[in-house]
Amino acid sequence: MSRIKEFNLPDLGEGLTEGEILAWLVKVGDTIELNQPIVEVETAKAAVEIPAKWAGQVQAIFHPEGTTVEVGTPIIAIDTDPGAGPIESSAEELPTPSAASLAAVDIAPAEGAVEPGLIGGPAPGGRTAVLVGYGPRTTAAKRRPRKGAAQATAPATPAAPAPVVTAPVVAAPVPVQAAPTVNGNGHHGGPVLAKPPVRKLAKDLGVDLRTLTGSGPLGSITREDVQQAVAASSAEPLTVGAAATSAASFGADREQRIPVKGVRKLTAENMSRSAFTAPHVTEFLTIDMTRAMKALDRLRGRREWRDVRVSPLLLVAKAVLLAVKRHPMVNSTWAGDEIVVKEYVNLGIAAATERGLIVPNIKDAGRLTLRELADAMTDLVQTAKAGKTSPAAMSGGTLTITNVGVFGVDTGTPILPPGESAILAFGAVREQPWVHKGKVKPRMVTTLALSFDHRIIDGELGSKFLRDIGDFLTDPEAALLAWT
C-alpha cells in the first residue's frame, strides 16, 4: 500500500454532495496525529472539524480555504511514514489527486437509468431524491455505467434547431446535451445541466441557461460560462432583449415574447415589492419656476460655473436636500418594528438607459456644495449612460428624484424604490398661462409629484415637505436666505 494517502472529502451528513473548506488547521509539512483535527468544513447542514484519518506528515493540501469541494474529491495527502526517507518519484507517489480518485467522482450520464422518484434518481426541482435531509445540491447521481450505455451517452449532437419561442431573437444555437427529443411544449426534452448555484447566478444576472453552451462535464454550464455570457452581452450594447425591442420582430402568431431578465426583471421585482408593501400616497404641486430658471441662467453666466452642466434638475436636487434638513423624517426606512431615520441623504436619480431604468445615488449628497452636487450629477448621468454604473452606486439610496419631465410629460405617480420613504417626480417645465401679480402671463410652470410611504409619513408631513420644495423652486434666493 502506498505511503502517501489521500483523504477524500466524505459525505458528512446523509446525502450531501459537497462541502466548503472553511479553514485548514494544518499546513504542509506538519506532523499530525491520528484523529487530530485537520480541517473545518461547512456543508449545507453543519460546520464540522474533520479529524485526521492517519498519523503522519502533511504532504499536500489540494484545495485552498473558501473553495467548495465535491464529496469524494481528495483534499489532503498525508505521508503515513515520514521517517522512511525521501519519497521515490513514482507516478503513484506524486502528491496530486490520483486519477483513480478523481474518476470516482465522475458523474454518470443522466440517461434515465434510475426512474424519477427513486432514491438516487431525479426528484422534482432538479434535486436528487434522498431518504432524509435537505437533499444534495446536484442533479445527477453517481453510479456505474450500464452495459451498452455508450449509445445513450453518444456525442452531443450540435446544431439542433433552437426552441421556437426564442428563435427569432437568439443568435447562438442552443446547446444540446443529448440526443434531441422534443416534448409537447416544443422545447428540448433534454434538461439543461447546471448546478443550482450556477442556476441561481444565471437567474440573478438574467441569463437564460438555454442560450448557453456548457463547458463543464457532459456539457454542463459552469459559473464561468454564465459570467462570460454576461460580459459578452454588456460589451455589446444591444442585448438580446434590446435587440428584440428595436427589431420588433414578431413570430408567425404576431406576438413577440421577450424574456424577462436583467434590469427589466430587477425593476419588475423591486416595483412589485414596493407597490405591494409600502402604502403609497402621491401629492401634487404645480409651481411657477420662472424666477428659478432665471437664477439658473445667472448661475450659468458666472465664470466659475462656465464649464458646469446646470440643469433645472440640479435646483430640484438642492430643493429636496434643503427640505430634508427641515423634515428629517422623510429620509427614513420602514424596518418592520422600527423606523430608521437617516442623517445622511443618498440621493437617487432615476436614469433611463439602454439597459433600462436604473437608480444610482449620490452618497451623502446633503453635505455637498451646489457645485459639488452639480459635478456629482453630471458624473452620475454620464456613467449611467455609458452603462458603467456599479452595483454600489445603485445601493443604499435613501430618497429619489425621477425626472420624468425629460420625456415631455407633466408628472406621474412614482413608485418608491424599496427601502425608501419618499420619491419626487419632476415634470416638464413649460411655458403656460399663470396668474402672476394679478395678471395672466406666460410663465415657466412645472408640476411636482411626491409619493411617500404612508406608514411613516402622514399627509401633513408629506405636504409640508412638498410645499418647501415648491417654495424653494418658486423663489430660491428667498428660501436660501430664510432657511440657511
Binding site: 451528513g13 446523509e14 447542514k45 453543519a46 455505467p145 450500464r146 450505455a149
Partner: protein
C-alpha cells in the same frame, strides 16, 4: 429491598452522619455525587424514598472505567464518521453516567429497549461495541441477538420502543415472571423529545393500567435535536408520571452513583410486581444530536460551558482521587485501555466487508417468500445490467 445485593442498597440503612435531605440542595434532584466530586451518603428523593449506594473500591473503579471507555469509543465513532467511514453517528457525549448507571443497575435477566444512542447501555450489557457501528456504516442491520444479551435492537423511530417495551413487560407479567428477587424487569430508554410522542404517552397508559414491570428511563438531555426542553413541557418531566398513576423521580443524570441507585430501586420495584415508574435522568447532550447536526446554530456556548462543569467523569475522578480509591497509575492504565480499545474498534470497522446488495433479501422471512424471491430475481437482473458486474 435490595437484599442479596452486595453492591448497593437503596433503603433500610441508617443514615450516615453526612447524609442530608434532598431539600437542602435541589429539592427535585436525587444526587449522591456533586459536580465537584463530593460524596453524599444518602438522599431522600421527592418520592419519599431514601437513596444510597454502597460500593466497594473495586466497584467504584469499575464504574469509572466504564465511563471512560464508553466515552472514548463514542469519540472514535464520531471521528470515523467525520472520516467517511460511518454514514452517521449519534454521540452520547455527556450522557455516560446516565447510561452506565442505569446499565449497571440492570440484572442479567432484565430486558432493555434502547433508542439509537444507548451505546453505553449496550456496552454494559456485554455486547461488542463494534455492533452498532455496522449499522451506522450501513453494512448490516445491527448484528446482536436481543434475546442473548437482553438488549433489543436500536430503534430509530422516536419513542416507538416504549410501546415495544410495554408489550414485552406485559408479557413478562403474564408469564408470571415477576414478584420476587429473581423477577424480570424491563427498561425503556427514550429522550425528552420523545415525551411529546403519542407512542410514549400510550405506553405510559398501558404500562400503568396493566401494572407492567417496566422502568421508563428518560434521558433528558435538554434538546430534541434543536428544540429546547421548554418547548416540550411546562412541568418537570418526571411529574408527568403522577398523571398516569405511577411514581416519577428526577435524578442527576451526570451522577453515575445516583443514577445507579434510582434505577436499581425502580427496577427492583418492577421485578417485585410493584408496576412501572418513570426516571428522568437530568443530563446534557454535550455534542451534536447526530453528526448531521450543528448545535452551535441553536444553543449558546455559555450553556455548554455550564454543563462542562458538571461533567460525569470529572466528578467521579475527583471523588476517586479525594478518597484515595484510585491513583494516577490507575487513571493512566484506564486511559491506555481506552486508547487500545478505540484503535481496535477503528481497525475492525475499517475491515468490515461490504455486503453484496442482494443480501438485503436475506433474513426477511425465515423460509423465504415467493414474492420476495421474485424481487430478488428482478434485482439480480438489474444488477447484471451494469458494466463490470460480477453477476
Amino acid at each position: 429491598m435490595a437484599k442479596g445485593d452486595p453492591g448497593a442498597s437503596t433503603r433500610g440503612r441508617r443514615a450516615a452522619p453526612r447524609s442530608r435531605k434532598a431539600a437542602s440542595g435541589d429539592p427535585e434532584l436525587v444526587q449522591l455525587l456533586t459536580p465537584s466530586g463530593e460524596r453524599i451518603d444518602s438522599v431522600t428523593g421527592p418520592d419519599g424514598v431514601e437513596y444510597r449506594v454502597d460500593f466497594t473500591d473495586e466497584e467504584y473503579r469499575g464504574l469509572y472505567r466504564d465511563l471512560v471507555l464508553v466515552r472514548k469509543l463514542d469519540a472514535e465513532a464520531t471521528a470515523l464518521q467525520r472520516q467517511g467511514e460511518l454514514g452517521l453517528w449519534a454521540s452520547l457525549l455527556g450522557q455516560e453516567a446516565a447510561q452506565v448507571g442505569s446499565g449497571r443497575a440492570l440484572r442479567a435477566q432484565d430486558m432493555a429497549f434502547p433508542t439509537y444512542r444507548e451505546h453505553g447501555v449496550l456496552y454494559c450489557r456485554g455486547i461488542d461495541p463494534i455492533m452498532p457501528l455496522g449499522l451506522f456504516r450501513g453494512v448490516d442491520q445491527g448484528g446482536w441477538d436481543p434475546n442473548e444479551f437482553k438488549f433489543n435492537m436500536y430503534t430509530i423511530v422516536i419513542g416507538a420502543q416504549t410501546l415495544h417495551a410495554t408489550g414485552y413487560a406485559m408479557g413478562v407479567a403474564m408469564d408470571g415472571k415477576t414478584g420476587g428477587e429473581d423477577g424480570e424487569a424491563v427498561i425503556a430508554y427514550f429522550g425528552d423529545g420523545a415525551t411529546s410522542q403519542g407512542d410514549v404517552n400510550e405506553a405510559f397508559v398501558w404500562a400503568s393500567v396493566f401494572n407492567a414491570p417496566l422502568v421508563f428511563f428518560c434521558q433528558n438531555n435538554q434538546y430534541a435535536i434543536s428544540e429546547p426542553l421548554e418547548r416540550q413541557t411546562r412541568v418537570p418531566l418526571y411529574r408527568r408520571a403522577a398523571g398516569f398513576g405511577f411514581p416519577g423521580v428526577r435524578v442527576d443524570g451526570n451522577d453515575v452513583l445516583a443514577t445507579y441507585a434510582v434505577a436499581r430501586h425502580a427496577l427492583d420495584n418492577a421485578r417485585n410486581g410493584q408496576g412501572p415508574s418513570l426516571i428522568e435522568a437530568y443530563t446534557y447532550r454535550m455534542g451534536a444530536h447526530t453528526t448531521s447536526d450543528d448545535p452551535t446554530r441553536y444553543r449558546i456556548a455559555s450553556e455548554v460551558e455550564a454543563w462542562q462543569a458538571k461533567d460525569p467523569i470529572a466528578r467521579m475522578k475527583a471523588f476517586l482521587e479525594r478518597e484515595k480509591i484510585a491513583d494516577s497509575d490507575f487513571f493512566a492504565e484506564v486511559d491506555e485501555q481506552a486508547r487500545r480499545e478505540a484503535i481496535d474498534l477503528r481497525e475492525r470497522v475499517l475491515a468490515m466487508p461490504n455486503p453484496e446488495p442482494v443480501t438485503m433479501f436475506d433474513h426477511v422471512y425465515p423460509n423465504g417468500s415467493p414474492l420476495l424471491d421474485e424481487q430478488r430475481t428482478q434485482f439480480n437482473r438489474y444488477f447484471d445490467s451494469f458494466e463490470g458486474s460480477a453477476h
